[in-house]
Amino acid sequence: MIEININGLKYNVEENMTVLEACKNIGIEIPTLCYDERLEPYSACRLCVVEVEGKKDLMTSCSLKVKEGMNIETHSKKVIKARKDILDLLFSNHPQDCLSCEKSGDCKLQDYCYEYGIEKGSFAGERKKYPIDYSNHFYSYDPNKCILCGKCVRVCSELQGTNAIGLEDRGFDTKVVAPFDKGLSKSKCVSCGNCVSVCPVGALVPKNRERYRHWEIKKIRTTCSYCGVGCQMDLLVKGDKIVGVEPAMESPNNGLLCVKGKFAYSFINHRDRLKTPLVKRNGKFEEATWDEAYKIIRNKIYEIKDKYGPEVFAGLTSARCTNEENYLFQKLFRAVIKTNNVDHCARL
């Protein structure tokens, strides 16, 4: 442990931490657009700058390690001024469409501009005018909204390990592209959407979705229902519909998902869902009430059991259902029907 001074107060923090991490642990909020605890520090957005006693220049706290006796100001006049200038520059080259931007309400640029009182970009001049890449089936990329924090590129290479995208060109012309700028659909992209999940602004957004605003939805933490990894995620709920999925920053997936977990949720509210019990009469399914369906099943069970005993019954329980349901299902067969003929698709 070492002692450092932040905003005039003494704190004991662990060695080898960055100033940003130390502040986060203490509860001092430092704005940042390019920082992600899972990624190598990148120091691109420069919003996390702080003043360090004895240093002439402001330092990016995401890459600055704490040192014994360090004196740090996180919200001095100079720091605030620098942050305001950065936000001003960013917004000066950003489309002004928070009115209808899908990211509005969940946008870090919008939140920081609000917090730091940047009402409009004051640097008039050339603005980016790139076509939007709609070629991926699940998300789109709008280079005009991109603030070049590089999170998407780094998640794709450092965490997902796909390396589908990179930053190309220099200076004003820089943008995120698939190699040789040939479009996302022609890249190695596996549509995991992990880039979309980390984009702090409206540059990478899910496509073909129900229209919703971020302030209209509630988030329900749950476990993904596809493979056995058991990724933790939030279902985004608007009214009685699931309108999106976001990965949770928790074990075992730590903010990652795959194409199915992230984008394949539309089956839930699909029109083909079975909505009422069906009973086959003369080779055709007819709608029935639950009571009717239960009665038919119960009578059939009694009839067959009376005639042949319990060993002619079999149940296939499900690797898709919950533990509680599997427990009850085998209990139904063993304790009520009285057979051990219960199995499931563990072998498939």
Binding site: L99, S104, E119
Partner: protein
């Protein structure tokens, strides 16, 4: 009261005969857009956004004022209606500042909501725009005429309390605006900072100044609390950001509740970790004040302590 049955967007609904179409639609879960309509205020039919098509009638009708009738067949989202709404919204946006980025109202703004719903965006145009006239004289209310859509809700709610009636319309045409007592700043006017107008404003023209920069609707939890100052028990909301209570704001008063500054300040004092300095009006000027002063507590604490200690 007699019930009547009408058909809205193909669905039949039975409602009391004094219902308007907009209210009947609500029963079906159909949300007809409206900027100037408020069930607690008298009907104005000013924004025209709630226009609907009625079978047998050539003209569009404003559903906020249209009485539901037996057998009536109404369409709320026909192509023609939608086109008119788009036009209305476009005209409003043409004369509205593009600053949802930092607007305090973002996330709760009806103009933003409907523009998103009908896919209408800001556009560049050569026409005139109102200048950014902001009345910053009050520490409690920020009045920004450039964002005003002239729905008149603020005027109507202010006038519901007889001894207030501060706000009114002034001038005509493009120059029409909302003014306080003729045309004074909120500071110089007789405004008592009750914030009734703020609670009904559908856009960012009247906002609670003590909220600015602190929290927007998506930033955190919002909890409703009841004011403990008088028997009316007006509702306030406590806003949270990062788990901390950062601001209090008034909720729209219904059932003849007046809403007042004292109630709001008391609620701030009770629920906020770090309430901002309060202000009081003295000779037509807002001045910083102590909590004792603004809440009219005088020496009451000393008196309480003295009595309690004496026991």
């Amino acid at each position: 009261m007699k019930n009547i049955t009408l058909t809205i967007d193909g669905q039949k609904v039975t409602v009391p005969e004094n219902f308007t179409v907009i209210k009947a639609a609500e029963r079906l879960g159909i949300d007809i857009p409206a900027l100037c309509y408020d069930p607690n205020l008298e009907i104005a039919s000013a924004c025209r956004l709630c226009l609907v098509e009625v079978e047998g009638s050539k003209k569009f009708q404003t559903s906020c004022s249209l009485q539901a009738k037996e057998g009536m067949v109404v369409y709320t989202e026909s192509e023609r209606v939608v086109n008119i709404r788009k036009e209305i919204l476009q005209l409003i946006l043409d004369n509205h500042p593009n600053d949802c980025l930092t607007c305090q109202k973002a996330g709760e703004c009806l103009l933003q909501k409907y523009a998103y719903r009908y896919d209408v965006k800001f556009r560049d145009h050569g026409g005139e725009k109102r200048l950014g006239l902001r009345d910053t004289s009050s520490p409690y209310i920020l009045k920004d005429d450039s964002k005003c859509i002239l729905c008149g809700k603020c005027v109507r709610t202010c006038n519901q309390i007889h001894d207030r009636a501060v706000l009114s319309f002034a001038q005509r045409g493009f120059k029409t605006k909302i003014v306080a007592d003729g045309d004074f700043s909120l500071e110089k006017s007789s405004c008592v900072s009750c914030n009734r107008c703020v609670t009904v404003c559908p856009v960012g023209a009247l906002v609670d100044k003590r909220l600015i920069g602190k929290s927007r609707i998506w930033d955190g939890e919002v909890k409703t609390v009841k004011c403990k100052v008088c028997d009316y028990g007006c509702n306030f909301e406590v806003l949270y950001k990062n788990g901390k209570s950062v601001a209090v704001r008034a909720k729209s008063p219904s059932n003849g509740r007046p809403l007042c500054l004292k109630g709001r300040l008391t609620t701030e004092l009770i629920y906020l970790d770090n309430p901002e300095t309060p202000y009081k009006k003295e000779d037509g000027e807002f001045v910083e004040a102590t909590w004792k002063e603004v809440l009219g507590l005088g020496d009451i604490f000393e008196k309480i302590i003295k009595i309690d200690d004496g026991k």
